[in-house]
């Protein structure tokens, strides 16, 4: 088993709330400095930063899991992870169509910039990405399953945008086996707090919107390291969502 250090919830400058310094190359270089084995850049309802993140990470030894943080109709944040860039970009298209026609107001929410592998601005997203999409959690699971991905409810210990707050509990029929604890939370506290619910595997990520918030390997308590057989993407996906795969 490999004790791997992962930060699977990082926002880039594509998210309106993500700092302008959260460029693909800066994120990759910070993750390398912090000695992480895995990162996932998970912007709100969008994956347009991922081609550049993959390009920036190429040849560095850093493993990248393609991901998106979806805001469902129920106003809860669900992390979705995929096996390749094509699948996550397909999800990106589905989500953009499912977003309401509310334009971003950069002066209030921040820019939604798309960068290339050299951190040059090549575009922007017009619709406000932090809105909720038109479908709910069951439909989301169906779509993500169809793309061979997995879903992980985000920051279930937070008082907002968490499945525990929006829905009161995790619907028992959903194939959810892992939930995320927020970066400043504690896995032990969450286990105690939710002990009456069905047992889950917990991962902890930073939800970083600023470079300095990206997780650091040496600050991680042992329970935060993922015990993986190898560093293949499929291995990590199965670890996160064993029930998503038939």
């Amino acid at each position: 088993m490999i004790a791997s250090a992962a930060d699977l919830h990082i926002h880039s400058c594509l998210s309106p709330c993500g700092d302008a310094d959260m460029t693909p190359n800066n994120i990759v270089n910070m993750a390398l400095l912090n000695e992480l084995d895995w990162i996932a850049v998970t912007d709100h309802n969008a994956a347009a930063s991922l081609p550049a993140v993959f390009s920036a990470a190429e040849g560095t030894g850093l493993n990248v899991l393609p991901g998106i943080e979806v805001n469902t109709k129920e106003e809860m944040h669900i992390l979705c992870y995929f096996r390749d860039l094509d699948s996550v970009m397909e999800m990106d298209r589905i989500l953009y169509d499912a977003l309401p026609d509310i334009p971003n107001r950069p002066d209030y929410f921040g820019e939604q910039l798309i960068l290339d592998g050299e951190d040059e601005v090549i575009g922007k997203r017009d619709k406000l990405l932090i809105s909720s999409v038109s479908f709910g959690i069951e439909k989301l699971v169906e779509i993500v399953s169809g793309l061979h991905g997995v879903v992980v409810p985000a920051h279930i210990d937070r008082p907002n945008y968490s499945i525990m707050v929006s829905l009161g509990f995790i619907p028992p029929d959903l194939p959810i086996t892992t939930a995320e604890v927020s970066g400043n939370g504690s896995i032990d506290d969450v286990k105690r707090r939710f002990r009456f619910f069905k047992p889950l595997k917990f991962i902890q990520s930073s939800d970083a919107h600023y470079l300095e918030d990206i997780a650091v390997r040496e600050d991680m308590p042992p329970e935060r390291l993922l015990q993986l057989e190898d560093l293949r993407r499929d291995t990590l996906l199965h670890y996160l969502g064993e029930k998503m795969f038939p």
Binding site: E74, E75, M164, S166, L167, F169
Partner: protein
């Protein structure tokens, strides 16, 4: 007012009439965060929520609500209607928004 009397008003449509009863609407409650509603709503209330996920039925059963009212004709998942019917929780849809529903219920004497 009793739950089945709500059907007399054309602006309220019951989506599962077999769940109707002569249970009294004793009070009202508004909220969309189900964890909050579970902890704070009172038994017998008519609950106004834009949340349509099947978990609303579990909350209504737990709190022993009289009915659920969905504002602005928000679309209901089929699973929610099926579960609510099984559990005997009437669900109404209306074009009114949440504020208008509360004002209307208040005008009918529900406090």
């Amino acid at each position: 007012m009793k739950v089945n009397e709500l059907t007399q008003y054309p602006e309220f449509t019951c989506v599962n009439e077999s769940a109707l009863s002569d249970k009294e609407i004793e009070c009202g409650y508004v909220g969309d965060l189900l964890s909050w509603v579970m902890g704070n709503a009172d038994a017998g209330c008519a609950w106004v929520t834009i949340q349509t996920h099947v978990n609303i039925v579990a909350v209504a059963v737990l709190v022993e609500m009289s009915c659920i009212i969905i504002p602005e004709l928000a679309e209901l998942e089929e699973e929610t209607v099926v579960k609510a019917t099984e559990e005997g929780i009437p669900i109404f849809q209306t074009p009114k928004n949440a504020f208008e529903i509360c004002a209307w219920l208040g005008a009918q004497g529900i406090k």
